[in-house]
């Protein structure tokens, strides 16, 4: 049974193998002696991201940008051909153990990239973390736990912790002179962690949260909650939704006439990648995030041009996270001379990794393996993110519960 299962790949993988063999021969003289330990001639990248369902956009953005980063180099990782082994996570926790084991045990990937869902992240971390497994790069899932209690020396994150984009948001809201606020988010890990962070910053700076509204995940019928907000009349509302829920919430909020009376704040996911769909309803919403499309550094400009050329659309924060996941791997692999078997050296290289020219600006890896990065304040103007400034410079996640930090 297992033997036939890759039949569909045979021709392509034959071509790839041939190409790789030729390549390997060509550069053979340059390879370090330890190369043989590193396994096959191709670097195997296992990817576990959603490619179907509501969050498929995130999975596609991350994967596209990852591949683009590799192409923007010389198409290889430290001189070695790259083989991608993607699996559709379906955002399904029940399938997560099996999918992870498939990439680790059967495909024997060198690097494991994923996921989006924090429950799946926990499963992967648990399976990969404690043993001599592949190095895991988290290109999205923001669960504080991944670089908190679950942190491990072979788990790195190139995205954010839920605390990071939310905490400065609460301060911005207080700095804008608001005294009372309501928080509203889906009742699941990301929503609650972000609301906790935003709320604590807001209250540390003199504000008062008068109500926490938790909407059942992934319910998108917000009318009842909007009426509650209208009745309580806070100075501001701090919200986290993403994807289709973000589009609907922002539109409903505007349609209920609340937008001009009670300003909306939140972590940047509220308007990221969806502000076109939100249209005029998103105008003026201030959010905080570790990326803004109009950042003027040359890396961002080059990345946006290349992304547009390759995929016919503009990248979003998820793409940047995928881009940096590839950058992290390429950077470390180059330092160890392409030997993917040198796990210890790779981990050292990644732990000390500094990225002065990421599209999101400069960032480096924290002791807990989470990015230390700028959080930008953005406002939607004319359907686009407008950078207002830096809300928090070189913000590091507190990494509560991580033994390494």
């Amino acid at each position: 049974m297992p033997k036939e299962s890759r039949k569909g790949f045979s021709r392509r993988s034959f071509l790839q193998t041939t190409a790789a063999a030729v390549g390997a021969t060509a550069v053979g003289g340059l390879m370090p002696a330890s190369f043989a330990i590193g396994g096959s001639s191709k670097v195997r990248i296992g990817i576990l991201l959603p490619y179907s369902g509501t969050y498929a956009m995130l999975g596609n953005s991350i994967t596209d940008a990852f591949k683009l980063r590799v192409q923007m180099g010389d198409g290889t990782i430290a001189g070695r051909e790259v083989e991608y082994i993607p699996i559709d996570s379906e955002m399904s926790v029940p399938k997560a153990p099996q999918n992870t084991k498939k990439l680790v045990d059967k495909e024997k990937v060198d690097f494991l990239v994923g996921p989006v869902h924090s429950g799946i992240a926990a499963v992967m971390a648990k399976l990969v973390g404690p043993r001599e497994g592949p190095i895991m790069i988290v290109p999205n899932a923001g669960s504080n736990a991944v670089t908190g209690p679950l942190c491990a020396d072979n788990i790195f994150r190139t995205s954010f912790s839920n605390w990071q984009p939310a905490f400065p948001g609460g301060k911005v809201m207080a700095d804008d002179g608001h005294k009372t606020a309501i928080t509203i988010a889906w009742k699941y890990a990301a929503g609650m962690q972000m609301m906790d962070a935003g709320k604590s910053a807001f209250e540390q700076n003199g504000g008062k949260v008068i109500k926490d509204i938790q909407v059942p995940f992934p319910n998108v019928e917000f009318q009842a909650n909007l009426s509650e907000i209208a009745a309580l009349k806070p100075d501001a509302v701090f919200a986290f939704f993403s994807g289709g829920g973000a589009v609907k919430f922002v539109k409903d909020y505007a349609a209920a006439g609340l937008k001009d009376k009670i300003p909306l704040y939140g972590p940047g996911f509220l308007t990221e990648g969806v502000s076109k769909a939100q249209g005029a309803a998103a105008e003026g919403i201030r959010t905080t995030l570790h990326y803004s499309g109009d950042l003027e550094n040359s890396a961002n400009q080059a990345f946006r041009r290349a992304y547009d050329k390759a995929y016919g659309k503009m990248p979003n924060v998820f793409s940047v996270q995928g881009y940096d996941a590839a950058a992290l791997i390429i950077n470390a692999m180059t330092q160890v001379g392409g030997d993917s078997g040198a796990t210890g050296d790779l981990i050292n290289a990644m732990s000390g990794a500094k990225f002065p020219d990421s599209p999101r600006g400069a960032w480096h890896m924290s002791a807990a393996h989470n990015p230390v990065q700028n959080i930008y304040l953005r406002e939607v103007r004319g359907g686009k993110q407008k950078l207002l400034g830096i809300a928090a410079k070189d913000l590091e996640d507190p990494a509560k519960g991580c033994k390494m930090a």
Partner: protein, 286 residues
């Protein structure tokens, strides 16, 4: 007091939307005895079609008019090719066949429109709002939805209770063989009913699109709640679907406000309670 009134309004409004989705389901469910799990996928297709067509012709209403025939044809073809072979079989097979349809339609959506999130702008004529309190306004478009839903409800009532087509359909749901022996080709009517059901689901997706957003997997969310509505009301009863939709609208809205920790369960608990009291639903035939 004002807040209570507004929440009541929200309940009714949500109830109307639910009715619109559930009406097609109850039609197919009751009249043909088909459990159509793909109803949510049709809903999603409607939303994507109106997004796409509105972009092409730059008019929301024309978009709906162009989209509905597509869904009618799609429903008709699916009925003829697949559903028609299952009338003699257990419900079980219908559940599975339409489960397979969900997978196919979800994948087709991905191939046709990709995985991005879209939205449909509210048409300019209906883009306004009425102030309810000093902070909250009520969008005109939501009132428009309510009116459309009432028209659909009335239209369905007239067709089923007053026309010859409705008479045949009702007779066929009671005794299929008898109707056939009277020389009426019931199969063709079933095809019509199924494609009408598909179009109704899509219509709900189209009407809802401007206040919602258009995204992959949106059908799955609406599907189960529509089933709840239909079952509470009694399978096949349009009146029941209407009452059921209102009950669920109330349970959901007030559940969120009064017992936020158990809001989602409120809906299903309501359903379980009603079914314990009346196992065949409020207006269902025993």
């Amino acid at each position: 007091m004002m807040t209570f009134f507004i929440q009541l309004l929200n309940s009714i409004q949500y109830g109307f939307l639910l009715f619109l989705v559930a009406s097609g389901l109850t039609l197919v469910f009751g009249i043909m005895g088909i459990i159509n799990l793909a109803h949510g996928a049709f809903f999603m297709f409607g939303a994507y079609l109106v997004y796409w067509l509105t972009g092409v012709v730059d008019n929301y209403f024309v978009g709906i008019l162009l989209g509905l025939p597509i869904m009618l044809v799609m429903g008709y073809v699916i009925e003829r090719l697949a559903i028609a072979r299952l009338y003699q079989r257990d419900h079980l097979y219908q559940v599975l066949l339409t489960y397979g349809l969900i997978l196919i339609l979800n994948e087709l959506q991905k191939i046709l429109w990709g995985s991005d999130f879209y939205s449909v702008p509210v048409p300019a004529v209906l883009d306004g709002s009425i102030a309810l309190t000093e902070t909250q306004a009520y969008p005109v478009y939501r009132l428009f939805i309510s009116v459309v839903c009432m028209l659909v409800a009335a239209g369905m009532y007239v067709v089923i209770a007053r026309t010859r087509l409705g008479m045949i359909i009702r007779a066929g749901s009671v005794n299929r063989e008898m109707v056939q022996s009277l020389g009426i080709n019931i199969n063709r009517f079933y095809a019509i009913v199924f494609s009408a059901g598909a179009a109704l689901a899509a219509f709900a997706g189209m009407i809802g699109a401007p206040v919602s957003s258009v995204y992959p997997g949106m059908g799955d969310q609406i599907l189960i709640i529509s089933f709840v509505v239909v079952v509470i009301g009694g399978i096949g009863s349009v009146k029941g679907a209407f009452v059921g939709a209102m009950i669920i609208g109330l349970a959901d809205t007030f559940g969120k406000v009064l017992i936020p920790d158990f809001a989602s369960m409120a809906v299903y608990a309501t359903m379980a309670l009603i079914l314990m009291w009346r196992p065949q639903g409020l207006f269902g035939r025993a």
